[in-house]
């Protein structure tokens, strides 16, 4: 059996707008921060995994090395939609777990401030002569004419579908989830937005795709996060302080979407999340009831609801009642998105899947300041990228 893997150092930049800095500047801040946090340097790293979705064809990892240390190690530039950061981390973990190296660095970075509405890839302009093209033989743009490919609209339907299947949902319920996350964000100085909204303000804000109003959508912003992972045997050679602050990776799982009938027309974010969670709980040898906090992929308020169920934080079909019980507020039984979530902390895409790990580590180390979940020992971080990819990591406080 492969040995345990630990997070030795981790860092996230403040999420927000960095008009005067480029992608690599922001990535460098996160990478140097993670190395410094772990008390190591680039010379100690045996692999670099780098994620940047908007620049997926660029050699982001190599460009980063030119700013922080060109050591000649293998670089994996990864792209996996909104799960890009988790995929970079998983890549570094696999390299260490395989024994190819004993330490690795994973970085996720994005500049997304001001890009506006994100949609799927099939948008095209109408031409002057109708000619069938593409796999559907379309003669005109289909986005907006045959359903919607805009992200707020896709995830709105995912939440509504859950409501159709199990009941208990409403515009107000989804808005209340957003109210929670914005309230949580007021305690997170690294969040892009730290403004508390009333339920009325959320429901009466600009409608993007019913039932998602603007504050119920993830915030496009700039940011980066990075983590240093290390093998158990290597960690034991480091200082007691490094061992004490190290966070155990009890599970690291990545899944893609298996075939389901309905995923052909609307992405099925449920099946692959449930599979990832099941595998993660098995790997970690713990259950949902053991979790002290969860950071899940609330790219829209409608998405958070379905993931309560997919991650098995509640009984099947019971997500609405689970939320209404107050369980997912920071003083509840299973605090969810105490960072403020993607709706207020922000969603610089490739950074998200490492930033959520940072949030969990922060609490497990007892370093989360005002928003510390007292006595947190176990946490789960989840991301979804449409297409689809799902990353789930379970982290445990060091016993040292």
């Amino acid at each position: 059996m492969a040995e345990d893997i630990w997070i030795l150092g981790i860092h996230m930049t403040k999420f927000g707008k960095y008009p005067d800095r480029d992608t690599i500047d922001i990535a460098a801040e996160a990478a140097l921060g993670a190395l410094g946090d772990g008390g190591v340097t680039m010379a100690d790293m045996g692999i670099l995994a780098a994620g940047n979705l908007m620049g997926a064809s660029a050699p982001t990892g190599q460009m980063l090395q030119k700013q922080i240390g060109q050591t000649g190690i293998p670089v994996f530039n990864v792209s996996n939609a909104c799960a890009t950061g988790a995929t970079a981390l998983r890549t570094a973990i696999m390299a260490v777990k395989s024994g190819e190296c004993d330490m690795g660095l994973a970085v996720g970075v994005e500049k997304l401030a001001g890009v506006g509405l994100l949609a799927g890839g099939s948008r095209k302009s109408d031409s002057n002569t109708f000619t069938p093209s593409g796999r559907y033989g379309a003669v005109a743009a289909v986005d907006g004419r045959i359903g919607t490919e805009t992200m707020p609209g896709v995830f709105a339907q995912i939440g509504m579908e859950y409501g159709h299947k199990y009941g208990g949902t409403s515009f107000e319920l989804f808005a209340k989830i957003s109210e929670k996350n914005h309230a949580h964000s007021t305690l997170n100085p690294l969040a892009a937005y730290q403004k508390r909204f009333t339920l009325d303000e959320i429901m009466n804000d600009i409608m993007i795709a019913y039932p998602n109003t603007r504050p119920m959508c993830s915030a496009n912003c700039d940011g980066a996060a990075a983590a240093v992972v290390i093998s158990d045997s290597k960690l034991k050679t480091l200082s007691l302080e490094q061992q004490r602050r190290a966070v155990k990776v009890s599970a690291s799982v990545l899944t893609s979407d298996p075939y389901t009938e309905s995923c052909q027309v609307l992405p099925d974010v449920n099946t692959l999340t449930r599979r990832a969670a099941t595998q993660a709980y098995e790997q970690a040898g713990i259950g949902p009831a053991d979790l002290d906090l969860v950071e899940l992929h609330d790219c829209f308020a409608t998405a958070e609801l379905v993931h309560y169920d997919n991650l098995m934080l509640c009984e099947e079909g019971g997500a609405a009642a689970f939320f209404e019980s107050g369980a997912t507020w920071r003083d509840g039984s299973t605090p969810v998105n105490v960072s403020g979530g993607l709706e207020s902390k922000g969603h610089p895409i490739a950074a998200t899947g490492i930033a959520n790990i940072w949030e969990i580590c922060h609490h497990l180390r007892g370093e989360a300041g005002e928003r510390q979940i007292e006595g947190a020992k176990v946490g789960l971080a989840h991301v979804i990228g449409l297409g689809s990819a799902c990353g789930v990591h379970i982290l445990e406080k060091s016993a040292a």
Binding site: I146, P152, Q157, H164, M207, A209, V265, L266
Partner: protein, 131 residues
């Protein structure tokens, strides 16, 4: 009458408008786009064309207020369960608000002209209207 073409190849206009799926000859999974092999069972045995029921139930929807340039908003986008085959479409011929569009409502296929090209050919789109 102007020449007409469907917005997508899986919309058949004759004899009456209906949707046509590619059905895997091995496992029966249905797809609306061109596939190299079956995503469900992996078989490359091929696909046959089958007509999809035109009556269905609205299983999920959203009312889109912000969309691509040129698309009138608000409009309703949704997923319709047509006798076990999921279909993505707009809900048309009704007011785009949550009072007129509800989960579980019965709907049926309907077509509409979505544009005319430089040669006078009309593109025919489809949606689902309250049944």
């Amino acid at each position: 009458m102007a020449k007409q073409v469907p917005i997508v190849e899986y919309l058949a206009l004759e004899p009456t408008p209906h949707l046509v799926a590619h059905q895997c000859t091995a496992c029966g999974a249905r797809f609306f786009d061109r596939r190299n092999a079956c995503a469900s069972c992996g078989s490359a045995a091929g696909f046959e064309s089958v007509a999809v029921e035109s009556d269905g139930v609205l299983r999920a929807f959203t009312i889109v207020s912000m969309a691509a340039p040129g698309i009138p908003v608000p409009f309703v986008a949704g997923v319709v369960d047509c006798g076990g085959t999921s279909v993505r479409a707009n809900v048309i011929n009704t007011e785009p608000d949550p009072e007129h569009v509800t989960l579980g409502m019965k709907v049926r296929l309907a077509t509409q002209v979505i544009g005319t090209d430089g040669e006078g050919t009309e593109a025919i789109g489809f949606g689902f209207e309250p049944a």
